[in-house]
Each structure stands twice: as C-alpha cells, then as structure tokens.
C-alpha cells in the first residue's frame, strides 16, 4: 500500500493551545479519508500544512513522498484543493477565474470544466460577486476536480450546497476514486463522512483522538445500551462500572454509551431481573459526540 499523505509529529503551535500537535497520520493511495472535528479543532491548520500554505512548528508532512513544505509546488501540481474559506474574486466572471487558474496550473482541459460545470449546474458567465454561497462552493469544487488530480484535499466541501448538489458532489468523489484518486475530506457533516469515507480520523483540541474505519469505530469503540429492569436497577454497581458514559437512570430504565467489556456489564447486573436489554452500535455522530463530551 503506497502512502498518499503521511505526517510525523506534525505540529503547528499558534500559542494558547491553538493549532495541531504531534499529528501522526497516514492516508493510503486510493483511499477516501474523513477528517472530523468541530470548529477550531485544527482541521484547517492540518490542511494548510499539507498544502504548504503554513510552515510547521516541528515535524513533517509528505504527500506522495514529497515534503509538503519544501516541495510545495510539486505537491500542489498533484493536488486539487477546496479551501475552507472561499476567496473573493469580486467582479470577475466565473469563466475568467477558471481561465486564470487553468493558466496557473496548465493541466485543466476545457472539456472537463464543461462537464463538471454542467453536472453542478454552474453558470460560468456570471460575475463572482453575483454568485450565491452555494455557487461559489460549486466553483471551488470545479477548480479542484477539473484537473483530475491524484489527491483531492477538500476543506468542508459541501458547505452551502443544497441536497441535490451534495449528491452530485458524492458522485464526483466516487468517480475520482474510481479513477484512482485519493480524497482527504475535512468535515463536521458526519453523514457525508459516513457516506463517503473508508476511514475516519477524529481531531480534538489539536490532537488526533482516533483513527479507524467506520466499522471499527462503530463496532469496537462503544455501544449504545438500554436496559429495562423488572425491579429497581442495581444503581450502585452500574455507577461503579468503568466505561459507562452518560449513564442515565430513569425509574427502572438505564441507558448510556458503554465502552467497556460486556462481561463486566453482565456481571454488574447479575442478580437483577432484566426485562429487556438493547445494545446497538452507535452512529458516527454519537461516536463523534462522545469524543467531544470527554
């Protein structure tokens, strides 16, 4: 498996605990990787480091084996990028912006532009300042996908897109992946990450909290448990149980996100009369929230 993105102890310290710290991450070629975290967690900082737009305080990042900082130009020739904050092109027409970026890149075919513009229903004849937020986002997507890059780095790519065009975006990602591209998506839209990504990394307060496949995260890390007791629940024993997060006791009902061993849970309720016991894998959203409730 070839590595598309690799980081080692990558750190950008803005002071006061802001930035990204000691990031060790590998994204394989051909993979669709979701990078999850709330605002200010360090997602955009990581992306700016990968794009060579910011310089690391320490550590290093590589893209296809190239140093993301030292070889930034060579890296970016292989990357399509959607920034988290859209640029302002004022009175330029969409078609002029595309021509300008195409001139800088040198690898954008008019046919690809036309195909993506039609697919996203984007009129390039209008001025940028007349575009809605969604249309500006579509233009950013067009500029990222049109060169058919080996790696797509997308920072909050569906921001402002309506559900119809979100589906088109998913289609673009699937097509890029089919064509062999690697995709790195930063997002806090969990459903989209769950929908698209092979693996997910969750970043919290500048630190990578966990990385795994959707299945791994859902199956191994925690279960949503609800138990209805026929009599009074063994409250003390349940409270003493390690790994029962958000334990809620409502009359004879007990619920919460359980991260521990089921043997220990069953031992804790041994002797009590259980009416029903439900255990289901949490959604990615619940996992995500559990990381942030720590």
């Amino acid at each position: 498996m070839t590595t598309a993105i690799g980081t080692g102890m990558l750190t950008k310290d803005y002071g006061a605990g802001r930035g990204i710290f000691d990031l060790d991450l590998e994204v394989a070629e051909g993979e669709v990787f979701g990078y999850l975290g709330p605002n200010g967690a360090g997602k955009t900082t990581t992306i700016k480091l990968l794009m060579g737009l910011s310089h690391a305080t320490r550590g290093r990042a590589t893209v296809f084996g190239l140093d993301a900082d030292r070889d930034a130009v060579a890296v970016k020739k292989r990357v399509g990028y959607v920034p988290g904050e859209l640029p302002q092109f004022g009175g330029w027409r969409g078609s002029e912006i595309v021509a300008y970026i195409a001139g800088l890149r040198g690898d954008i075919a008019d046919a690809d532009v036309e195909a993506i513009a039609k697919r996203l229903d984007l009129d390039l004849g209008r001025r940028y300042r007349e575009y809605s937020h969604g249309n500006k986002q579509k233009l950013a997507l067009l500029l990222a996908f049109a060169p058919r890059p080996a790696l797509l780095i997308l920072d909050e790519p569906t921001s402002g897109l309506d559900p119809l065009h979100q589906q088109e975006f998913y289609g673009l990602v699937r097509d890029a992946r089919t064509g062999g591209a690697t995709v790195f998506i930063s997002s806090h839209v969990l459903s989209e990450v769950e929908h698209l990504c092979d693996r997910v990394g969750i970043v919290r307060e500048g630190h990578l909290a966990t990385v795994g496949t959707i299945d791994e995260l859902a199956g191994i890390r925690a279960h949503h448990v609800r138990i209805e007791f026929a009599d009074a629940p063994p409250t003390e024993r349940l409270r003493a149980l390690r790994g029962f997060e958000g334990l809620a006791i409502d009359g004879r009902g007990v619920s919460g996100l359980y991260r521990g061993s089921f043997d220990e849970l069953l031992a804790a309720i041994a002797g009590a009369r259980v009416a029903t016991l439900e255990s289901r894998e949490p959604t990615l959203e619940e996992i995500f929230l559990s990381y942030y409730s720590k």
Partner: protein, 542 residues
C-alpha cells in the same frame, strides 16, 4: 457606542495618514515660504508679483493668488487648497468603504442583524467619520501653525483655527457625496471611481470659474461645488474671514447628502444598488473564458485591470499636456524672482525643456507612486481575501508570485508613463517647447526603476506585515516626494536627497543620473529578494 468606536477605528489609519500628509505639507510650505519669498518687503513684493502672474496660469489647479507677499496669503494659495483636495479624496475613499466596502465584507449585514436600524447604522458611521476628520484636520492646522512659528512669520492662531470650518465643510461634503454614490452601485471599487468622477467634475467646475469661464453660465450650479464654497473663505488673508454662507452651504450640503444616503440605504437591498438592473437572460456558460491573456504569466495581471490602467494613462496624459503647456509661463514668471532663480538653479531648471523635465516628471513620479501604492493595496487584499491562497494552491511558486506581480506592475506603469509622455510630446509640439523625443523616451523609461524600487519595497512590506504595507509604502513615497521638492530649496546635504527614490531618478530630460538609476535597480533587486524571502516565511491566510 460599540458601533461608534468600531466605526471610529475603521477611520483611524486614514485619519492618521491624511493628518501626516497635511501636517508635513503645512510645516514645509510655511518654512519654505520664507526661503523662496525672501526676508525683505521688497523681495516679497517682487515674489508676489511674479507668482501672481504664474498663478493665473495655474488657476486650474490652485486658487487665484492673493497677498502672496504674506505668509497667510501663500499658505492659502499653495498649501490649504491642496490640503482640501487631500481631505476630500480621503473622505471619498472612507465613504465608499463605510457605505459599500464593509457591506462587501459582510460587516454591515452582521450589524443590521443585531437589530441596529439602518438609519442609525449610517448616521453613526457619519458621526465617527466627522470626529476622525475634525481631529485629523486639527493636527494638520496645528502643524501648519507650528511651521509659521518656526519660520518666524506667525499667522494668528484664531485665523488658523478658523480654517477648520471650510476644511471640515469640504471634507464632510465629500464623505456624504461618497456615501450617496455608494448606494447607487454594488461594489466599493465602482463606487470609488464614480464618486471620484463626481468630485473631479465639481473640482473642474470650480477650476473653470477660477480660470475665467463665464460665471453666468455656471452661476446656477457653482454652489454645488464644495471647492467653490471652500474658496469663498480665506481667514489667513489680511482682512480675510470665513464666509459664513458658503460654509453653511457646504455643511448643509453634507447634511442633505447624508439624509439622501440614509434614505437610499433604507430602501435598497443589502448587497444591491438603489436601482436594480434587469436580470439577464443570457444562456448559461459552462466553458472557461477564451481570452488568452488570462492564461499567460504577467499578462493575466495586466488583463485583470486593463480598465484601471487605461483610466490612469488617459488622466495622466491629460494632466501632462496641461502642465507642459504651462512651461513657458512658469519660466518667464520665475526668472524675475531672485529667490526663485536660486531655486530654479538648484533644481536644474534653466529653460522650458527643463520645466517639462523637472515639474512634469516630479508630478508624474508622485502620481505613479500612488499607482504603485494602489497595486500594493491589491497585493495585500489578495492575501486577505484568499486569492493568493488559490494561486498558490494552483501550483504557483511563491517567488513566481513576487516576480510576476512586480513584472506586471512595471509593464502597467510603463504603459501609463508612455501614454502620459505622449501628452507631454503633443503639448511640446503645440506650444513650441523644444523637447527632444529621444530624451523624453529615456526620461520615461527611467521612471521604471523608480516603480521597480518602490514596488519591491511595497512587496516586502506586504510579505512582512500586510496590514501595514499600504501605510508604510505611502510614507516612503510621500517622504521621497517632499525630499525631492524641498532638498534644493533648503540646500539640504546631498546624502539627504539621495534617500529619496525620486531624487535618485533625477532630471533625465537635462542630465541622466546613471548612478541614481543603478541605485534604484539595486534597491529593486534587493527588495525583490527580501520580498521573496518574506513571502516564503509567511503563513498564508492568517
């Protein structure tokens, strides 16, 4: 109160910069007057007589010269009329920023969303500007008064303080006019250009009256010009005073225009113009623009601002024609003033050709420096508004960005300089001033090292501190201009003059300073290298 404080803060840089320019100009003009007019009443009478002859020729630019044998008369003619223009320009830019620029950034929407009424929002912005403008004008007048004290030819403090009223009138009028125009268009850039056209038109209206246009023809509209109203007051003259009616009309005009802008702001859509255009019915386009220039290095930068470059070129050519046409009058008028003969000799002016070389090219350098400052402002905005990030993400190397921007700047400035020199050439032919075409071409080409040096300094400042870059590069340009103007007048040591980029340019119509040109190129090269290093070091988008 928070809105007021933030609005005041938004005018801080402009107020300080304009005060610095006004104070510097006032101080130097006051000190310079004693040097050029001479110490005795006879010297001053001769100076006044000759300057009044020349002043008639310059009435398109300056008020009619009166009492030039006094400090008050000279400051009224040479300094305060220019200060009024500087404040009007700042007011106009501040108004389009407050009325449209903040809206483009989403700030107006954010404030209105908090429940602030539109009328209150705009009125608070106006009040904040008024406070900033009065403080800035106060500093300018204080420094000018200080200059008269230094020159030992003091004008009454009360008279200087009285200048505040007409200057405030023209400044607030221009701000209110800028706010009205900002309601009619959808971008700050267009608002600035449109408001600029309005201000220039009203200035030209007043200039035409000064130059002798039939007052009957213009009598009905002349009261619309804040510059005409400003000229009515001359408290620094012996027996002069503030024209109460003119000042009231000026301030009243500002109030009426402010009311009009509030009315328009309340009626239009946020982000839209007061009168919306009809929606287009063109078929959607899905292919990139066909313009090949957009895809080529350097030319892409030129193509993006072709209208802007053309505007500069045409305006400067017109001014070049006008100033060159005055060459004979200026030389013939100055040669009778002993102090001016010394000044002309120090400045290297011996004949009509030299006037073109010295007076036009010093003005041209100042204007082209303003052009460079505008470009530096654009580079800083590229960073703040994400365009630089997009260019870098498209694979452009940082050194390429610096080199390409400077190359585009030099090409654009070259176009502007060449077209303006064409204006000089046409005027020389029309008014029988001997100007050699090859010398004119050489003097034009030698403007480019100045552009290169100033542009490189500007870019290294953008790479170092983008938010301060415009202020700092403007300071470099202003100091260069004043040093060029006053070094010969005060007989400053040569090394002081050599700190000015404009002095390094010299007077190539008469004598080419190849050492100065080489120094400018070296400054440009070193500045470019430092600018590249500064941009390489920076984190983009923070």
């Amino acid at each position: 109160m928070i809105l007021f404080r933030l609005a005041l803060r938004s005018h801080r840089t402009g107020a300080i910069a304009t005060a610095a320019i006004g104070a510097f100009a006032g101080l130097l003009n006051a000190v310079a007057y004693v040097s050029i007019a001479g110490p005795t009443p006879a010297d001053r009478a001769a100076f006044a007589h000759s300057m009044e002859v020349i002043g008639q020729q310059l009435s398109y630019l300056l008020p009619r010269p009166v009492q030039l044998d006094t400090m008050g008369g000279y400051l009224t003619w040479r300094d305060l009329s220019t200060v009024a223009i500087a404040y009007a320009v700042w007011a106009l830019l501040a108004a389009t920023g407050a009325g449209r620029g903040d809206e483009e950034k989403g700030l107006s929407e954010a404030w209105l969303a908090t429940g602030v009424a539109r009328a209150r929002y705009l009125l608070v912005r106006m009040a904040a500007f008024a406070v900033a403008a009065l403080a800035s004008l106060g500093v300018t007048l204080l420094a000018t008064e200080l200059g008269t004290v230094v020159a030992k030819d003091t004008v009454p403090v009360a008279a200087m303080a009285a200048e505040l009223l007409p200057l405030a009138g023209v400044t607030l009028w221009a701000f209110a006019a800028g706010l009205v125009v900002a309601q009619l268009v959808t971008t700050r850039r267009v608002a600035s250009v449109a408001a600029g056209i309005v201000i220039v038109a009203l200035y030209t209206l007043n200039s035409s009256l000064r130059a002798g246009a039939d007052p009957a023809e213009l009598g009905r509209v002349k009261w619309l010009s804040p510059f005409y109203l400003f000229d009515r007051s001359a408290p620094l003259l012996a027996g002069g005073s503030v024209d109460g009616l003119a000042s009231a009309l000026s301030l009243g005009g500002a109030v009426v225009l402010s009311g009009l802008s509030v009315w328009a702001f309340a009626r239009r859509d946020i982000g839209g113009a007061l009168v919306a255009g009809r929606p287009g019915s063109a078929r959607p386009r899905h292919v990139p623009a066909a313009d090949p220039a957009l895809r080529l290095p350097v030319l892409a930068g030129i193509a993006q601002q072709r209208g802007w470059i053309a505007g500069w070129a045409i305006a400067m050519a017109a001014l070049a024609y006008f100033l060159s046409s005055l060459a004979r009058s200026i030389v013939d008028g100055f040669k009778d003033i002993p102090a001016m003969q010394v000044y002309l000799a120090r400045a290297g002016i011996a004949g009509y050709t030299d006037v073109v070389g010295v007076i036009w090219f010093s003005t041209a350098l100042l204007l082209i420096a303003i052009f460079v400052v505008a470009q530096v402002n654009g580079w800083a905005a590229d960073d703040a508004e994400g365009r630089l990030e997009m260019a870098l993400a498209a694979g452009a190397a940082r050194p390429r960005i610096v080199v390409e921007r400077l190359a585009a700047l030099i090409v654009a400035a070259g176009i502007v300089a060449a077209v303006s020199s064409l204006g000089v050439y046409l005027a020389a032919n029309a008014f029988d001033i001997p100007v050699a075409g090859d010398r004119l071409a050489l003097a034009t080409v030698l403007v480019l090292p100045v552009v290169f040096a100033l542009g490189a300094i500007g870019h290294l400042l953008v790479g170092w501190r983008p938010r301060l870059a415009v202020v700092l590069v403007t300071t470099v340009a202003v100091i260069s201009y004043f040093t060029q103007e006053f070094a010969p007048l005060f007989d400053w040591p040569e090394w002081v003059g050599r700190t000015s980029l404009f002095v390094l340019y010299g007077a190539p119509m008469t004598n080419v300073d190849w050492g100065g040109a080489a120094t400018l190129v070296v400054i440009g090269i070193v500045g470019t290298l430092v600018a590249i290093a500064a941009l390489e070091q920076r984190d983009i988008g923070r």
